[in-house]
């Protein structure tokens, strides 16, 4: 109970930044780096958690820049031969480091030293991995050296392979089939941490680490714990956590969820608002035969990706509420020329057009308002709220929580709310998504 009151004040910096940026926060397509040759450096640094903690981690840095968590998302093109050179600048005592890229084919490694699983970069040294990005999809990468320690420490990242024929403006597809097309795409890289392990590492007491007593108390999406997930990308006060997770869409659009489980545990990821259709697992379309398209795709409201694995889901939202979600007193029309029951422009569900709101909402004094409640049940309408209430939804968007349904994971080291949580919001068509 106390947590709600104290957490409220932590949310002000979140939304102050969002409001400063105008009608909608700046939304990046998936942030990452493109190319065919990459230089990554493994190094140590600290990350911040919303409860005020600062945790030593090991991560991958692009070139020899600042380390980032997660490592840079590598955005590749199908068919390219990729070369990743990894240099080991981890602190003394950390040992070797490496990269595994499960799902990539024809991989070879040169240089470095032979480790148990793959070739590794010794302290100060380098190793080069080469593979062909033969198949489009969403993949993970992580260290293959003492993985139970190094994955925990933060040496994880995502790989996205664009299919042949992909075009950023005219042909956004995830796989080589039109049924994998999308309008907006977002990365959900899931991870967790047990800060005891990081404290032992920082204190030079690595022999005190006991993996069988693993007890995570932090959970992250794209390297940040809520509410930091909803800050802008690249905020200056989270220099080692450049990525955010703030998905958004319009009614009737297709939002591609690229879920990468970089942790060691299962997390049931739940999308409020609607089901998502899982079209691929581990970078492979769910198809009955090559070229058939995702005919084995299935809808889910909660997807649990095995550790190390990935899933691609298409989320599509309209309302079938049984009442008109745009209200009944503003003279709007629902025009369905193509016979799909949806307004051709706004994707309003025409069978519900003109139906009045079916109940009376309680008196404001009897109601607790959410921070993301716009004051009105209607999409695109914001209504006044009592002083201090709401305020984080000036456009009257529809917000839906997307989160791990293991609710313990919605905390930051004993403080609720936090953890593996973000808010997806549906903007009315009148509110453009910036940089979708």
């Amino acid at each position: 109970m106390r947590s709600i009151m104290t957490q409220r004040f932590r949310w002000f910096p979140v939304m102050a930044i969002l409001l400063l940026l105008g009608a909608s926060p700046a939304l990046a397509a998936i942030q990452g780096v493109t190319g065919t040759t990459f230089n990554l450096t493994a190094k140590a640094d600290h990350i911040s958690t919303p409860d005020g903690n600062s945790i030593l981690i090991w991560g991958y840095a692009l070139n020899n820049g600042r380390m980032q968590y997660p490592g840079p998302t590598l955005i590749l093109n199908q068919g390219d031969t990729i070369s990743i050179t990894l240099t080991n600048n981890l602190p003394p005592g950390a040992g070797n480091v490496s990269i595994l890229a499960p799902g990539q084919s024809g991989g070879t490694a040169t240089g470095g030293v032979q480790g148990l699983i793959t070739r590794e970069a010794p302290p100060g040294g380098s190793v080069t991995y080469t593979f062909v990005a033969a198949q489009p999809g969403t993949y993970a990468y992580y260290s293959g050296t003492r993985p139970e320690l190094q994955v925990e420490m933060g040496l994880v990242g995502a790989i996205i392979v664009r299919p042949a024929g992909f075009n950023e403006t005219s042909n956004k597809i995830a796989y080589g089939h039109p049924e994998s097309r999308y309008d907006d795409e977002f990365l959900f890289l899931l991870s967790e941490m047990d800060p005891n392990i990081h404290e032992f590492v920082e204190a030079g007491l690595m022999n005190m680490i006991d993996n069988t007593k693993y007890w995570p108390v932090y959970w992250f999406i794209n390297g940040r714990a809520a509410p930091d997930t909803m800050l802008d990308a690249n905020v200056p006060f989270l220099p080692t956590q450049p990525y955010n997770c703030l998905p958004t869409t319009h009614p009737g659009e297709r939002l591609l969820m690229r879920i990468v489980n970089a942790s060691r545990d299962l997390h049931p990821y739940h999308t409020h608002g609607n089901h998502h259709k899982v079209i691929a697992l581990d970078g492979r379309l769910l198809e009955s035969a090559p070229g058939a398209g995702p005919d084995l795709a299935y809808a889910a409201f909660t997807t649990s990706v095995p550790p190390g694995g990935t899933a691609d889901g298409i989320f599509y939202w309209i309302a079938k509420a049984g009442w008109d979600i745009y209200g009944t007193d503003n003279g709007h029309d629902c025009v369905d020329a193509d016979g799909d029951d949806l307004d051709d422009a706004t994707h309003e569900y025409c069978p519900d057009h003109g139906k009045p709101f079916p109940v009376n909402l309680p008196h404001k004094n009897d109601t607790t308002f959410g921070a993301f409640w716009g004051g009105s049940p209607f999409l695109g309408t914001a209504e006044p709220l009592p002083p201090g209430e709401g305020g984080f939804n000036p456009n009257g968007a529809y917000f839906f929580m997307w989160h791990s349904h293991s609710e313990k994971e919605l905390t930051n080291f004993d403080i609720f709310p936090g953890g593996m949580l973000t808010m997806m919001f549906v903007e009315p068509l009148s509110a453009p998504l910036v940089n979708p």
């Binding site: 939202w317 079916p358 309680p362 109601t367 529809y398 839906f400 004993d414 609720f416």
Partner: protein
């Protein structure tokens, strides 16, 4: 394009609602079309509109007993449909049940669910609001989704009415989403499912190679009878951390980071209470009321198709539920018919997932079988052996 003729009804009844329930301030107020005295049922001269269901749930606190006898303080829901609104607070306080009452509706029904917050008797220092999150209902809007950060929640002593046109059939679940980690661990969790229109087809309707007869029931509008079942049982995976519940009862800081569930349960009880037809002894602490009414005993005649509506609202762990002697035909996940059914002997669920599983007993010898977790340490009621997440399937 104008709406269809059904659209007129909500407008008409909205007027009746307005008459019957002037939204006051801090009052238990039921909104149910055609119901004028606020008890959410139609009696006397009250007329029930077609295809309409009204439910009145309360939210508050209560007490239950674990299978080893241990008393647990809970937050929960209870069903007070039929109780006059001015009696609800008195009767509902401290009466909540675990799991929450099962909600079963038919596809397309107009569902009006009034949620009344009756406060926490054991914790007068708390003024928590509550919600009902209809987990998995497709094409949601925030106002009725029950997720408080994006929506509204109802304060103590007051009521909020949710409206749904019951959506596509399948196995869903519901829970409070206010301060979710706390309220869900404390027990505000229940079964929810929607039955398909296909159940009500005229006798003799041909569905592919299956001919529908009155009384045939299906999981989905499958069009071919492949999800037909004879008996159905909701099986909800739940688990408690007694240290968390005790801290809540004793007004102590809540141990979120150390949360560890050691009372694994199905439908609110641990074995052997899962197979007991009599509820655990009602605790004195809630006035001696039955607070765990639901068992998980599955019985069928040999040859029948048993539908297990399996869901999990565990807040911490994944659990693998196994039926070692009777194969599971998985026909649905998350309230959607699977494009390809598959046969297995165990399913692994995290919180917020559901599966529809048909057990075909045609080739199964009569006898007693077991449905239990293969995370075998969870066959315990905390420090008591031979308990936990297990129930029985009796084939006669």
């Amino acid at each position: 394009m104008k709406g269809n003729r059904v659209f007129a009804l909500p407008g008409f009844f909205l007027l009746l609602l307005f008459i019957a329930s002037s939204p006051g301030w801090a009052a238990i107020t039921v909104q149910c079309p055609g119901d004028t005295n606020g008890d959410a049922i139609w009696t006397g001269s009250e007329v029930r509109p077609d295809n309409t269901v009204c439910i009145h749930l309360t939210a508050g606190d209560g007490f239950i007993r674990m299978a080893d006898g241990y008393l647990q303080y809970i937050f929960g829901f209870n069903d007070f449909t039929g109780t006059p609104p001015d009696q609800v607070m008195d009767e509902a306080m401290l009466s909540q049940q675990f799991p929450a009452p099962t909600i079963k509706v038919k596809e397309g029904q107009n569902v009006y669910l009034t949620l009344s917050n009756v406060g926490m008797v054991q914790r007068p220092d708390l003024f928590d609001a509550h919600t009902v999150h209809w987990h998995g209902f497709p094409f949601q809007t925030p106002v009725f989704d029950g997720e408080p950060m994006a929506s509204i929640s109802i304060n103590m002593g007051s009521s909020l009415t949710y409206y749904y046109a019951a959506p596509d059939p399948g196995t869903y679940m519901y829970h409070c989403h206010f301060e979710a980690t706390e309220h869900m661990q404390m027990g505000m969790l229940g079964n929810l499912y929607v039955t398909p229109r296909q159940d009500d087809l005229p006798d003799g309707t041909v569905l592919g190679s299956h001919v529908h007869h009155t009384g045939d029931r299906y999981v989905f509008n499958d069009g071919d009878g492949s999800t037909r079942y004879d008996v159905d049982y909701p099986v909800q995976i739940l688990a408690f951390d007694p240290r968390f519940h005790d801290a809540s009862m004793n007004v102590q800081p809540l141990p979120f980071a150390m949360m560890r569930d050691t009372y694994p349960m199905l439908n609110g009880r641990g074995y052997p209470d899962t197979v007991s037809l009599t509820p655990p002894a009602p605790p004195d602490e809630n006035g001696g009321r039955v607070s765990q009414p639901m068992n998980s005993l599955i019985t069928a005649s040999r040859g029948q198709r048993i539908l297990l509506r399996i869901s999990s609202l565990s807040t911490v762990e994944f659990y693998t539920l196994s039926s070692p002697g009777i194969p599971m035909l998985v026909v649905g996940k998350d309230a959607k018919q699977l494009p390809a059914y598959f046969t297995t002997n165990s399913l692994t669920l995290g919180g917020g997932e559901s599966y529809d599983v048909i057990l075909d007993t045609a080739d199964v010898a009569r006898g007693t079988y077991f449905l239990y977790t293969t995370n075998l340490h969870n066959l315990s009621n905390d420090n008591e052996d031979f308990g936990g997440m297990m129930t029985e399937i009796v084939i006669n």
